[in-house]
Symmetry: C2
Subunit: 153 residues, 2 copies
DNA sequence: TATAATATCTATAGATTAAATAGACATTGT
DNA sequence: ACAATGTCTATTTAATCTATAGATATTATA
């Protein structure tokens, strides 16, 4: 289950993707529009900046904007930044930890073998889907909804 | 990330799958062998019983045993019982909730559309993998490890 | 029928993590 | 110089996960 924090991050990114990159957006404005607690959003945006997804400008006229094009921002990367990964098992995480607390023989642990398949399945979706894809799919769905409305009138 | 509870459940099931079904295993014995807090394990086994995966016998000579063959127990089912589902998003859960707290138009929510793909990817692995598969893969890995040992001697 | 062995149930405590808030500080445009 | 902004550190609150305690119901068997 992805956390509220990650959902906030994705919403913020979708919003920023709809803005011209030469016009920084205020944290407070983003927070208001997306109904995200301002201080919480601050921390989120900062993480995304530190990892090169966003850029910011301090001072008057400052704010946040995308550092890359939406088609070069994978959803997997965003989830990794905010959740610390998306592995179903700690011991399968990219990071330092090939260690299992409870398991003395990771290489033949059945749970680990199965969850490794799950991880690959998740990864194959999240790493190939970009912010641009997500927005496009949403737009398509909106159009489809409108079309249905038309017919029903 | 799956919880410790689910890992305990899977370990217990692997253990029980290795026992004859006409010899109930004591909770305390299972807890000792798998190093699971006894009272915690009690609750886990009870959930698995209530959902028809395990059977129990009360009184002297009682204990727990599998209610079905390992090849008829999907890992997805176990995860669902103990985690309440494996959807990355609340609003995609099997259960009652096609409601999003934060989202007024689920049908065109980009996050939801993408996570729906993730859910399908997870599901396709977890629902097709059984307890028997998990054990088989573990056994194969153990054999492979032994073989490597042989060569290195 | 008494007793011991067992699962079942209800309640609660403790630990960890997620979410939200507060306020001081640093930077920049005008 | 000043106002507008992001940055940083710390704290609080809430939720969830993990673990524990003890009373109760059921059963085999001596």
């Amino acid at each position: 289950m992805i956390s509220r924090k990650t959902k906030y991050a994705l919403k913020a990114l979708i919003n920023l993707a709809g803005q011209p990159t030469d016009e920084p957006v205020l944290i407070s404005e983003l927070a208001r529009q997306e109904q995200i607690p301002r201080k919480f959003l601050e921390a989120i945006l900062l993480s995304l900046k530190n990892v090169g997804v966003l850029q910011s400008k301090i001072g008057k006229g400052g704010g946040y904007f995308l550092a890359k094009e939406p088609r070069n921002i994978s959803i997997g990367n965003i989830v990794k930044v905010l959740e610390g990964g998306y592995s179903p098992l700690q011991c399968l995480n990219d990071n330092i930890s090939p260690e299992c607390d409870e398991c003395n023989e990771p290489s033949s642990c059945g749970i680990r073998l199965v969850m490794s398949d799950v991880l690959m399945a998740i990864s194959s979706v999240l790493e190939t889907t970009t912010l641009a894809d997500m927005i496009e799919r949403s737009d398509n769905a909106k159009r489809a909804n409108l079309k249905i409305m038309d017919f029903s009138i």
